[in-house]
């Protein structure tokens, strides 16, 4: 088990290395000169050259990469042109916000999604199964941003129950915070919820067909026990493996949700930086996002190692 964890950690580090290379390549190898774009059309040649030197863009690429990586590892992510703050500060402000909304959505998706999947599998073919399956299918076909807009239209403009936008930290005003975060959290969770429901359902159906379920029934156990104690634990194993993917979807979806609801999180930061040609910020945000997802995947894999005894005891 220990070797399993260590091996996964090393793999994750390798992945992060590749991520950094990819991010760097995107930012520096694609056509377009970031500096002149950053300074705008009216910059003089000298200003361009001086900024280029300042940012170290005149050095050969591999050196630029190394400089950047070394800086990152020391905690220096660069400076934002638009906000005139260090990227670190920006991230410190925004990451907790995204994390707040995101983690609540994640928990909601897991609880509701997995339960729905179990119910749909057990009551296969019935009306509840059809309802859940159809809803899950719809959930995966709906664009998150549109859902946000629809939600705003129904619940804010027409019904007036929830605010149109805005974010308040729970430590400042917990009721306002909840009021404002209900829609973003629920809508953000929907896509992952749908995915988890589908996967849980198909996984349960697969497991229920297995020989050891027949053995459990042959022992005379109550059907509820067969499902909950024998089938579920086995069915959850493949579901856990896709939790990592769900995490990536959540992070991606948060870009839209933050845009629609004007939440000052990492996603909104990225969008604004792209429009503001603030490439250093974009670079760092992508790196951080990927790191969060990679670490999330690592944790999921470790959890998987704990749940499946075949991994635990080799």
């Amino acid at each position: 088990m220990f070797t399993f964890i260590v091996r996964r950690v090393i793999q994750t580090i390798l992945i992060l290395f590749f991520v950094s290379v990819i991010v760097f390549m995107i930012m520096h190898l694609l056509p377009g000169d970031p500096v002149s774009i950053m300074l705008g059309d009216y910059a003089s040649q000298e200003e361009i050259e001086s900024l280029r030197r300042e940012l170290g863009l005149d050095k050969p690429l591999p050196i630029q990469y190394l400089d950047w990586v070394i800086n990152v590892l020391q905690g220096d992510l660069g400076k934002s042109i638009a906000y005139n703050q260090s990227v670190n500060e920006l991230v410190q402000q925004r990451l907790p916000i995204s994390f707040h909304i995101g983690s609540m959505a994640f928990v909601l998706a897991i609880i509701v999604g997995i339960s729905a999947g179990i119910v749909a599998a057990v009551k296969r073919g019935g009306w509840i199964d059809s309802l859940i399956t159809v809803t899950a299918n719809m959930g995966m076909a709906v664009p998150v941003f549109w859902l946000g807009i629809l939600g705003v239209y129904l619940f804010s403009l027409k019904l007036g129950w929830l605010p149109v936008q805005g974010y308040t930290s729970p430590s400042v005003d917990i009721w306002k915070s909840i009021h404002q975060s209900v829609m973003p959290v629920v809508l953000l969770s929907l896509v992952s919820l749908a995915q988890l429901a589908r996967q849980t359902r198909s996984s349960m159906l697969e497991v229920i067909r297995q020989d050891y379920i027949r053995t459990a029934r042959a022992k005379g156990l109550k059907e509820s026990r067969v499902i909950l104690r024998h089938a579920l634990r086995n069915a959850l194993i493949p579901v856990i493996t896709i939790l990592g993917m769900g995490l990536a979807h959540l992070v991606g979806g948060s870009v839209f949700i933050e845009q629609v609801f004007n939440i000052p999180g990492m996603g909104r930061l990225m969008v604004q930086s792209i429009f503001g040609k603030d490439y250093i910020v974009v670079q760092s945000v992508v790196l951080i996002v990927a790191t969060v997802v990679a670490i999330g995947n690592l944790l999921v894999d470790i959890a998987y190692g704990f749940v499946d005894p075949r991994i635990r005891y080799k």
């Binding site: 005379g220 104690r229 086995n234 075949r310």
Partner: protein, 683 residues
């Protein structure tokens, strides 16, 4: 008279794709307390579905019990709802089941102790602590050492044989009145099978539990069962006392089965009498006797009458047949032995000439000190910590026209030997010479032309044919690759020739593999192997996955082809009776080494190595009279894993002759007679 279990006119049907499959069509039987009864049949006979119907373990969307009653201890089980408390009390509490697949029948994420305790807590109302004690007791009872620790192990930490023992423990945990063993030992090694069956018999006799053995193996039936029900196409075709049925089988199917099964004590030249054709499609059962198309005793009248009912043909003996068959042509019991002995005496005179004949033939394949080790890596950096010595210094040769049989249990290395010879791997050490060429380390390109002469026939008819290619393309691929035909016409002609050679109508060559049955697919595999006109063919468990009646067909086909085309075979199998039938010489392998090699007669009649003796003793002969009088060698322990090889002689921890000397050195293969090698220092 009150039977423990009485089934009357049970009918279980399945709906599939719009049609109805009559899996069990009017079956009636009974079991009394303390009896051991066997249900014999091949796939599709309905023998398993029959057992599960009573327990209502049939999945009820596609399946449904249409008619009948299942009286257990007086109550009709079918009157209970499938998941009612009463039904569940019976399941596990009064009737225990052991399923076929040990690898998948235990929940992988629960310890075995918990899985046994669960049963006990439910049916015997024990608390957790007592249940755990009982679990440990049971695990000990089924012969698993170190029960106190192993009770907390997970299923994947046990071998197949041990998992099956745990299943048996679980099934017996609540002191049931009836134990159903559904092909419980089919997936296991011969020696493990013998051990488990002995254990089951001991336990049920001690506790006066009834035992139902569902099997297709007539040997097991002969050795253990007191009464038999023979099933075919969803119905019982014959029933009675074991000895009576073997002595005087009255139904053509029973007779056919017995003639088709090779026995350890057969006369050598006995041709296996296969049952032609295949079982009927259960969705389209004819109104007349289901066995009619394959029956050698059928008359014109049989096709006009409805399916024959079970009628009494003797005391406690019933058969579903209109014909009164007096002379089945079978020789059983002492008469069989006499016939075999006659053969032996006749054969003795031939022995020496046969040997001389052998020496004069050229050597086709020569293997010397072959070693194939696979590294075991551990830790992060993948450091090699040990070797799996799958093949550990194996030497033999095969002469032109011979068949060498290679037998052994799991882990013995016989499949690895075949694959190494065919250069699927590069040997770790040793030498392989084929047709005079040294192919031990030959490059892929140089090997290619030689591959024409060394094809392989695979075990699994379902995964050995590319599901996306037409069978014609599959068979013809060697022709294309080795450029053996010069025109499309030649190609087609050769394909037609090959299909006819293996008994298939050439017009089917454009069909896809999934349209054929298992036996037909094996024929296609054989046609593919013969396409390049080889001199040498490796048969890797070529018949193991087939039904008994189909096995005989394929064995006969292989033998005929050998005579016609002058082929040389390396025949790998774990079924000792089949190997004896088809081989000229036989080598027995254990944990990567050959422990004994000799001509078939010597090996089977005068085996010298203790393992060979143990192995032969473990194989049941389909003849209850012979079985009664046979001596049984006690089988100790299990086949160890290749990673845990005993020191010195790898058999020393289970051998009745072993002494401390045996643990010090690995015995070499020494000659004890004409072409007879034994790897043992005690003989």
């Amino acid at each position: 008279m009150n039977h423990l279990l009485e089934v009357r006119n049970l009918k279980t049907y399945f709906s599939s794709d719009g049609s109805t499959i009559k899996a069990v069509d009017g079956v009636s039987y009974h079991i009394d307390e303390g009896e051991i009864v066997a249900f014999v049949g091949e796939s599709g006979s309905g023998k398993s579905v029959t057992q599960y119907s009573g327990l209502q373990l049939i999945p009820t969307p596609p399946g449904r019990i249409v008619d009948g009653s299942v009286l257990f201890d007086g109550d009709d089980l079918l009157s209970y709802k499938a998941n009612s408390e009463k039904m569940r009390e019976v399941r596990g509490g009064k009737i225990g089941v052991v399923f076929q697949e040990p690898m998948t029948s235990l929940n992988p994420v629960m310890t075995v102790g918990k899985q046994i305790s669960e049963s006990v807590m439910l049916h015997l109302k024990m608390n957790k602590a007592d249940a755990r004690k009982r679990a440990i007791e049971l695990i000990q009872m089924v012969g698993i050492p170190d029960a106190e620790h192993r009770v907390d192990y997970y299923p994947h930490q046990f071998s197949g044989g041990m998992r099956q023992r745990i299943m048996i423990a679980m099934a017996l945990s609540c002191n049931p009145k009836l134990l159903i063993a559904d092909e419980a030992t089919t997936a296991l090694d011969v020696t493990t099978q013998a051990q488990l069956l002995e254990m089951m018999r001991d336990v049920v006799k001690k506790t006066n539990t009834s035992l139902i053995l569902v099997t297709h193996n007539l040997g097991i039936v002969a050795r253990y069962a007191e009464r038999i029900y023979v099933m075919y196409a969803g119905g019982i075709v014959e029933s009675g006392q074991t000895k009576e049925i073997f002595k005087n089988p009255k139904h053509p199917y029973t007779i056919g089965l017995m003639k088709a099964v090779p026995r350890l004590d057969d006369p050598k030249e006995r041709k296996l009498l296969s049952i032609e054709g295949a079982p009927p499609n259960l969705a389209n059962k004819p109104a007349h006797c289901a066995f009619l198309p394959r029956c050698e005793f059928a008359t014109e009248a049989c096709s006009r009458k409805p399916a024959p009912p079970l009628t009494n043909v003797g005391e406690g003996h019933a058969a579903a047949c209109y014909e009164k068959i007096e002379n089945s042509g079978l020789i059983i019991g002492n008469a069989h032995m006499k016939a075999a002995m006659r053969e032996t005496f006749a054969g003795v005179a031939e022995e020496h000439p046969r040997q001389a004949a052998r020496e004069s033939k050229e050597i086709l394949l020569k293997v010397a000190d072959l070693k194939m080790y696979f590294p075991v890596t551990k830790g992060l950096l993948g450091r090699k910590v040990a070797d799996i010595k799958a093949v550990d210094s194996v030497s033999f040769d095969i002469r032109k026209g011979e068949t060498l049989g290679l037998v052994g249990e799991s882990g013995c290395g016989k499949t690895t030997v075949a694959r190494t010879i065919l250069r699927m791997y590069e040997p770790t050490d040793g030498r392989i010479e084929f047709q005079g060429h040294d192919i031990t380390r030959m490059s892929i390109n140089k090997m290619r032309p030689l591959r024409r002469d060394m094809p392989m026939i695979f075990q699994d008819p379902y995964s050995s044919l590319d599901p996306r290619q037409s069978v014609g393309n599959i068979v013809g691929e060697p022709l294309k690759v080795h450029k053996l035909v010069k025109s499309q016409k030649e190609y087609e002609d050769r394909l037609i020739e090959l299909f006819e050679m293996v008994g298939l109508n050439p017009s089917v060559r454009n069909r896809m593999p999934h349209e054929f049955s298992g036996g037909q697919r094996q024929r296609i595999g054989i046609a593919r192997a013969l396409a390049s006109n080889p001199s040498f063919v490796v048969c890797d468990e070529a018949i193991s996955a087939l039904d008994v009646s189909i096995q005989a067909q394929i064995i006969n086909l292989l033998e005929d082809l050998q005579k016609k085309l002058g082929l040389t075979y390396l025949f790998i199998a774990h079924d000792l009776s089949v190997v004896r039938h088809i081989s000229d010489r036989v080598a027995v392998m254990y944990l990567g080494k050959i422990v004994e090699i000799a001509d078939w007669k010597t090996l089977y009649e005068r085996p010298m190595h203790p393992y060979t003796q143990m192995l032969l003793s473990a194989v049941p002969i389909p003849d209850p009279f012979i079985e009664e009088t046979r001596e049984h060698v006690e089988i100790k322990g299990e086949v160890p894993s290749l990673l845990n090889r005993p020191k010195g002689c790898s058999f020393s921890n289970r051998c009745p002759l072993a002494t401390s000397e045996c643990k010090e050195m690995e015995p070499p293969l020494k000659s004890v007679g004409l072409d007879h090698g034994v790897a043992c220092i005690k003989v």
